[in-house]
Amino acid sequence: MNEPTRLPIELNVNGQKRALTIAPWTTLLDLLREHLDLTGTKKGCDQGQCGACTVLIDGRRVISCLTLAVTKDGASVTTIEGLAQDGKLHPLQQAFIDHDAFQCGYCTPGQICSAAGLIAEGKAKTADEIRELMSGNICRCGAYPNIVAAIQQAMGQQS
């Protein structure tokens, strides 16, 4: 087929303005990993089923593998690389370390971004509610009890 039409977009990624020209089928996940070398966001299933690619767009958690980047022109994106501030870990990152809330670590960036979205939503109060609203993030190592404990610690610090 003919050379695809590339489109200019501008995103604010982790506080930095990024102007790019991309093919319309570029997912936000591939843009982050392949175009911006931000490989903290992980490609798990690439079908919206595992949550490993979770990032925040304008403060809300979404699945970056099912997001076409062109549809987000002008948006602010926060990835795992953007959570630590001034060299200090985000409370969720510290809590995941404190609670050993991972084994292989592959789902962890998605878990932490998802948890940051969950805390911003302010809907989850109990462990049951955390579990339900984190169900879009699969951990095949089964670190779930420690993930819930880590989120509870971070929620306590921020409330």
Partner: protein, 337 residues
């Protein structure tokens, strides 16, 4: 993904005229289902018309009811104060579906237009009449555990995957659409189709039409309702069987009963005779079981999914009991109420 052109729609009229000019195009809003299907080449649009920035994202009061813009995100609808208080069954059904990330992306209009998750529809190496009319149906004699037991045809036994639509069927919502021939309103219960011999058509929306809003009438069943979803894991899974119920009670007597099933048919499944059998009756397990029997009289299993007939019967009785008692199923506590 196969290459495609991309353009943003500047307003609703522009979206409609761009579609009229490119019949093999698709509208994109949240993209949660469309992008997924494009990755596996089940959907192959030549162009995407981006409607995600159109001003169809408001929830407005309309003389006691609500007009919900087609681009309202699923989470925003579920958490809307007027929905939580007046239509808690709708909030509950939305929160029972997908994950919070997907609900943050998915639009109301897109939820209505979800394609089936039948594994054979997704698998290009197998026969599927929905994907390729005339090819046959690999599900009928295949692994059909997730497939339909009601309203099936020799051509297709797929189910509609939405939870939200099951609640909208009970609420008797209507779907506002616009297209080159003007605007029209389709009752939600007439919006999705049975497969018959045209399973490639999921809905009565024409390919060149755009959903602009979903309207729910005032009656919200906010006291006696439930959304009970039975699935293979406790969260983030499609329904084996789900039941949305809305009851109006007069003391212990049922004034009006409405219920719909998800996960069992090509559309949210209501049965007028079963609902009518409950009116004027006392709320009792015996009456609920009789209503369930009416719904399932013509149910047909295909081997792996035959258990759904019994499961549906019990889920209907359980859901009607939850609604009558005023103890709706919580979507976070997994204890069956």
């Amino acid at each position: 993904m196969i290459g495609f052109e991309y353009a943003r729609a500047s307003n609703v009229a522009d979206a409609v005229s761009q579609m009229a000019a490119s019949p093999a195009a698709k509208f994109i809003a949240g993209g949660t289902n469309l992008v997924d299907l494009m990755k596996v080449h089940v959907e192959r649009p030549t162009k995407l018309i981006d409607i995600s920035k159109l001003p169809l994202d408001k929830v407005e009061e309309t003389g006691g009811g609500l007009r919900i813009g087609a681009l309202v995100r699923n989470t925003d609808l579920a958490y809307h104060p007027l929905v939580e208080t007046r239509y808690p069954m709708l909030s509950s059904a939305i929160m029972a579906g997908a994950s919070q990330q997907l609900r943050n992306m998915a639009s109301v209009g897109g939820n209505l237009l979800q394609r089936t998750r039948c594994a054979y529809f997704y698998d290009l190496t197998t026969a599927c009449n929905k994907r390729e009319p005339g090819a046959g149906c690999a599900a009928i004699d295949g692994h059909n555990r997730m497939n339909a037991i009601l309203g099936t045809s020799d051509a297709c036994i797929a189910v509609h995957p939405s939870d939200m639509c099951v609640a909208l069927a009970v609420l008797e919502a209507s779907v506002h659409v616009t297209g080159p021939r003007g605007e029209r309103v389709i009752a939600l219960t007439d919006f999705h189709r049975l497969p018959g011999d045209t399973p490639q058509r999921d809905t009565n929306l024409e390919a060149d039409e755009l959903i602009t809003a979903v309207e729910v009438p005032p009656q919200g069943f906010s006291t006696n309702y439930t959304y009970l979803k039975i699935r293979d894991r406790l969260s983030y899974a499609f329904a084996l069987v789900s039941v949305a119920v809305g009851l109006e009670l007069n003391g212990s007597k049922i004034k009006e009963a409405r219920f719909a099933l998800g996960g069992v048919a090509h559309k949210p499944w209501r049965n007028a005779a079963a609902e009518a059998s409950l009116s004027g009756q006392s709320a009792s397990e015996a009456a609920f079981a009789e209503a369930a029997d009416i719904v399932l009289r013509d149910a047909k299993g295909f081997g792996h999914n035959t258990f759904k007939i019994d499961l549906a019967r019990r889920a209907i009785v359980r859901a009607l009991s939850q609604a009558a008692r005023g103890t709706p199923q919580s979507q976070s506590s997994k204890k069956i109420a």
